[in-house]
Amino acid sequence: MITELGHFALVLGFAIAIVQMVIPLVGAHKGWRGWMAMADPAATSQVILVGFSFLALTYAFVVSDFSLRLVFLNSHTDKPMIYKITGVWGNHEGSMLLWLLILVLFGACATWFGQGLRPEFRARVLAVQAAVSVAFYAFILFTSNPFLRLAVPPLNGQDLNPLLQDPGLAFHPPFLYLGYVGLSMSFSFAVAALMEGRVDAAWGRWVRPWTLAAWVFLTIGIGLGSWWAYYELGWGGFWFWDPVENASFMPWLFAAALLHSAIVVEKREALKSWTILLAIMAFGFSLLGTFIVRSGLLTSVHAFANDPERGVWILIILAIFMGGALTLFAARANAMRASGVFQSVSRESALVLNNILLAVSSFVVFVGTIWPLVAEMFLDRTLSVGPPFFDAAFTPFFVAICLVLPVGAMLAWKRGSLAKAARPLWPAALLAVALAGLAYALQTSRSSLGPIGVLLGVWVVAGSLVDLWSRTGRGDLAGRIRRLGRLPRGDWGKMVSHAGLGITVLAIAGHLAWQEEDIRVAREGESYAVGAYEVTLVGVREVQGPNYISTMADITMSRDGRRVATLNPEKRYYPVADMPTTEAGIRNGFWRDLYVVIGDPQTGGGWAVRTHIKPFSNWIWGGSILMALGGLISLSDRRLRVGAGAGRTARREPSDGVPAE
């Protein structure tokens, strides 16, 4: 009964979305207030309806209602409750419903927080947002309906993929979706602005927090996924340049470019049409990512041919929205007059360079991702594009970004001087070179990867600290420290995010360059040395888990005769799904992770054991957390608080809109 109500609510939401797509748009065009105002209650009721629908599906999972096809395929009575709930989005249909829920939630946010926007503009934004949701309602209802029943309900379900029964992965998709779908906000704002043919600082002030929020969510989502791969897949890799990963990375790069160029629109009223284009592209790449993941196209052309319906749907959605928005852009971009001017050497130019590097690097990822498909379709070659290509083609862009970032961040707006911006950065540069030299001297290998990573990372981190410090102005030390606490949150957010990027870059390079690995057969009780550590396989035992059987090893690691860790790597077997998984034994440390994996028993006795010493592992995710945290700090800035003063912006702009930096 509840399931049917959920299904019905979804259909009702679909109908409301169609109305919300048309009526406010007509109202905005004709200037009819009543028609425009209709969008607000419609957006709110969509949230209630889709929210109810989602709760109904969750309820079906919680009570294990196996008469629902989706629950039967993805759940089991023995599964822990938390994974019954996360199982709602651990499958295609449910995850699309989550996607829709987030989409209508963002739409409603434009209503709830957007009362300061001009009514015509808000009506147009909500209409565009509704148009996107109409497409996804239709996609769910016609191709991926989660509420389909089974005629004969089975006694028990087929279980959720054991790999998904993990906290890191359980919360990875919602964050990723919040990011993907959050970009729909900037898209709707961009299209609405194109319809009106006008973009002003208020527009930038609105788009920036939404993009920032989406980017923060994407950062957290990608970080969680990468962390999960690190501890769950059993060989300690954290990024594989897999098409599905690239699908989330491309929007992240575009969102990063967009939030930087929106700064220019907001503060300087320049780069307007470029920012609009970026907003369209960022959401386009989100849709493309969904297409890549949902169609299975990039697994193989043949997988796509077997079940083309869903892929074709998303491709049509992509074509309509991108085609429509880009056509509108071509027709209207000229109307976007930039009122702010700037010199070749200025913060604006530095941000243009940032945008170019981020956007082009994203295109490189895109080309590499689809190249196997192009080659198979047009050249009749089956080939692979793997990590070696991406490492070679993508890394230079981030090297360049890291080199330019500290200087660019300190350039003055409008008309800057390179020498003036670079002067306070000399200590940062010296520190970076010194530490890179130290790393080179200390390392045993001849690889340049580690030292270069240290150079770039330290340069960016120290550069962001210098940048923040320089914002405190002149005067005595005490006064500057006092002013440090009173700096706008935006400045702090900028420092924290940029430092996070530096830390991640340093960590990835150090991690790859300096990890140690040992693979061997160890008998129970045997000890051996790996790096500076003494590893002992104490014993191996069988353990019964809630819905799996585990082979668990007890391994101790000691250094200089002092025990530093007791690790319990596991091999789990999930009988319902008939799948084995690996649980690595990891001891997290500040400088390094100790990482042990237990393998199969060997014919001659003993067990295969793999031991890794992985330096800077936690710094990779620590840096990502800092990047996200910086975004959140920035979001809490009064100036950026969603909707703050949106209506008053035009009047207030001359007094405090352009801070003298």
């Binding site: 990723l176 594989f240 897999d242 799948m579």
Partner: protein, 150 residues
Amino acid sequence: MRWLALTLALLLAGPALAVQPDEVLDDPVLEERARDISAGLRCPVCRNESIDDSSAPVSRDLRLLVRERLVAGDSDREVVAYIVDRYGEYVLLEPTKDGANLILWLAAPALLIAALGIGYGAIRSRASADAPDGLTDDEEARLSELMGKR
């Protein structure tokens, strides 16, 4: 979303370890070369995994084959050519730099140069408008007309 990518790989994968202890060569230099080569070869039945990371049986066979060729005295290039002859271009994780693949390899520098060129041009034309004295209304109108046409 990543699980979708890896589900298939792990369904096909069996036990937990990729490189097994019995595969490791005694000569550390040869073993190092073997690891480097295997990191660049794709497991033919998995999804986007190198044979060095994959635990599928065919990857084990390929790893053993790589080591066999190395012990027989082949150069790295010869080993890769040997594998590609038998399993096709598909196993190369790093696409070759010939023929149409040049488009792929040159995409990054070409796009970057084009983008930098356009960006620089746009900034220059904008910067030259930043005259020290304000423009007259007529000039302003004419300018925005020109800027608009760009």
